[in-house]
């Protein structure tokens, strides 16, 4: 209304343009729609395995947009579909990966779904043992420091992984050498079936940062802009040479652990429904609608465009070439 004091909206306060927040929403939606497609393909018998990002897209996109994928590096984990897309992979790349085709830029069909990684996208290769990527990210950050370059390295992991020795060893090393690394814990409350209360005795994973001599921050993972804000601060700190930050984004895993898991055995439907009501997809969309940046028709345009790309990607991947079986023997060593 005219005459009212024009209060700066939250994203403007953070220095994000209207186009940028729409782009963030689009990336979240792209991740969600691909993930939903994967489940359909799994249940249709096309894909043997799916491990999901649903419920964590807000945290992933909020963090990824605080970085500059042209210079920064990420050592993500297997739920980080949002991060992977934000760093430049396309639905086609993802589908080729899911179908394990020769053109899969992540592993040429060698790794199971969710094990991303491609040098040209600045994405470190992912393995299944959890937390091993944390020291890697520290080593990558060490490379930045030794070469006096300004890139930062982002490493993400679940709260379950924060109990591994590699988490401790990596954080401690980075703390000692004040390395430009962002430890990003996506606390989705479960390590497969084991709830947070049975995983850690402290209140927050972020509290552990105290022991490593750098800041630890807890943030609502469903609040995309808040995640952006704390990650941006951490990135700025790292670029200034002030060392690492541990960020704990509180999220919720909306799906079972994987397509082979049945979460009804260890949590109630009510609990899941309650979390679904707080889903970042809904919260962020509400914000954008309230800001007048999004309405149903605009949302549909975006969704249709994304769906078209995903459909095309699925079709392409379904008929794409497999790697030759004998290429199993390739790349054990350089030659």
């Amino acid at each position: 209304m005219k005459g009212e004091i024009n209060v700066l909206s939250k994203h403007h306060q953070l220095g994000l343009t209207d186009d940028q927040v729409i782009a963030m929403y689009e990336k979240m939606l792209e991740a969600r729609l691909i993930d939903e497609r994967l489940w359909l393909l799994n249940r249709a018998g096309k894909l043997p395995f799916v491990v999901s990002c649903q419920g964590q897209e807000g945290a992933q996109i909020g963090a990824a947009f605080a970085m500059d994928p042209t210079i920064d590096y990420a050592a993500p984990y297997y739920r980080d579909l949002g991060t992977i897309l934000a760093f430049g992979q396309t639905p086609k790349d993802i589908m080729l990966h899911m179908y394990a085709r020769a053109e899969d830029p992540n592993s040429g069909g060698r790794q199971m779904p969710g094990h991303y990684g491609s040098k040209k996208h600045h994405l470190m290769s992912i393995s299944s043992p959890v937390s091993t990527q944390i020291p890697h990210a520290v080593g990558m950050a060490l490379a930045a420091k030794m070469r006096k370059e300004t890139f930062v390295t982002y490493v993400s992991f679940g709260e379950g992984s924060s109990n591994q020795g590699d988490f401790h060893e990596g954080c401690n090393f980075a703390g000692v050498h004040k390395l430009p690394v962002i430890f990003f814990c996506e606390n989705n409350q479960y390590a497969i079936s084991v709830p947070l209360a049975k995983q850690v005795a402290c209140e927050h994973i972020a509290d552990r940062a105290l022991g490593y001599g750098f800041p630890g921050v807890v943030v609502d993972g469903n609040d995309v802009l808040e995640v952006y804000r704390v990650t941006k601060e951490a990135v700025d700190r790292a670029r200034r040479g002030d060392g690492p930050t541990l960020i704990e984004a509180l999220t919720y895993r909306l799906t079972p652990h994987s397509s082979d898991d049945d979460d009804r055995a260890y949590r109630s439907k009510e609990e899941v429904d309650e979390a679904k009501a707080k889903d970042a997809m809904i919260v962020f969309k509400d914000y954008l609608v309230k800001q007048g940046l999004l309405d149903e028709s605009k949302e549909k345009t975006i969704r249709d465009r994304l769906m078209q790309a995903i459909n095309e990607a699925t079709d392409y991947a379904q008929t794409a070439q497999d790697p030759p079986p004998e290429s199993t023997l390739d790349y054990v060593y350089a030659n």
């Binding site: 290769s125 060490l142 020795g165 590699d166 060593y333």
Partner: protein, 327 residues
């Protein structure tokens, strides 16, 4: 060319590699100011500074994991594990990550990493400062394992390892650091990984071995010459990948093969070599393939008599060589 101790030849290689290539750096526990507990890295920090000669926290998985990350970014880290006995916390990083990085990323990400570690017993090191763990890793494709037996090879193989585009485990018998000395070429000197070498020729028995045991076997062979027993001695130098061609050729040469290693017998490197010979050289065999190795107990005891019982020595090797010659 100068006669140098084994330990000095290793240090020589590090100095040379670090002067040649700024991407080469050393990290590990006590490697910096202290120059390593065995003094292998002594003097490096004075020339290259504390960033390229990095004292790390006491955390082996972290050392290797950080080195993998730096290697992924194009550095050539030389990580030191203080004793091979303490490499076990880093095994996940070595086997799940370093060994598989190239393969799992379809040749996209690589891991040009060297991990140096002293191994071997007979030095009152007891259970956790005496182990030989090469067999644990030689089963893993994607890793290379090097065990030099001379000072010249130590330098040449370490330089080859540092230049290698894949992860190399470089195991140094700690008993050899200040015991073995020989002529070491100055400056650039590369000994290719994957190539065994004949240390002596003879036509009665073939001894296949590596590391300190090469010296014991040669000592015995000289003695046995006087009895008319002529040994053919192959020094493997690289444990993974094994030099299949050289092994088969050496086995064929006499038809009588003794494999010697300090590491315990069951599932040791010798088992693979024996299988290789049995597969490819059956009709040249004139005796059972024999193995002389450490006993199958969890590790080497501290008590001097027990340690002596465990360790291989020239006498045990002589008995085994003579038995095989007599067969």
């Amino acid at each position: 060319m100068a006669v140098k101790l084994f330990i000095d030849a290793i240090r020589d290689a590090l100095f040379h590699a670090m002067r040649e290539d700024e991407q080469v750096f050393v990290l590990g526990e006590d490697v910096g100011v202290r120059g390593g507990v065995f003094r292998v890295t002594q003097g490096l920090i004075e020339e290259f500074g504390e960033q390229r000669v990095m004292d790390t926290p006491l955390a082996e998985s972290g050392i290797v994991g950080v080195a993998i990350g730096a290697a992924a970014m194009g550095f050539k880290p030389v990580a030191e594990i203080q004793f091979v006995d303490f490499i076990l916390p880093a095994v996940n990083q070595i086997i799940s990550e370093a060994a598989k990085m190239r393969y799992r990323s379809n040749n996209d990400w690589t891991c040009p990493l060297v991990i140096r570690a002293p191994f071997g017993g007979g030095v009152h090191g007891a259970l956790y400062h005496s182990q030989s763990l090469e067999a644990l890793f030689y089963h893993v494709p994607g890793l290379k394992i090097v065990i030099p037996s001379t000072a010249a090879d130590a330098k040449g193989l370490l330089l080859a390892a540092i230049r290698d585009p894949d992860p190399v485990l470089f195991f140094e018998h700690k008993g050899m650091y200040r015991l073995i000395r020989d002529e070491v070429p100055d400056g650039e000197h590369i000994v290719p990984i994957g190539k065994a070498t004949l240390r002596k020729t003879g036509d009665d028995i073939t001894v296949i071995t590596y590391g300190l045991m090469v010296h014991y076997a040669l000592e015995v062979a000289t003695k046995l010459e006087q009895e008319g027993i002529h040994a053919h001695i192959l020094d493997l130098r690289t444990i993974a990948p094994l030099d299949r061609e050289a092994i088969i050729e050496a086995a064929r040469h006499t038809g009588k093969v003794l494999i010697v290693h300090e590491d315990n017998k069951t599932g040791g490197v010798g088992a693979e070599i024996a299988a290789m010979i049995a597969e490819e050289a059956l009709f040249d065999l004139d005796a059972p393939i024999m193995r002389l190795a450490g006993p199958d107990v969890p590790a080497m005891p501290y008590n001097a008599g027990m340690e002596k019982f465990y360790m291989l020595n020239p006498q045990k090797i002589e008995d085994a060589m003579r038995n095989l010659a007599r067969f």
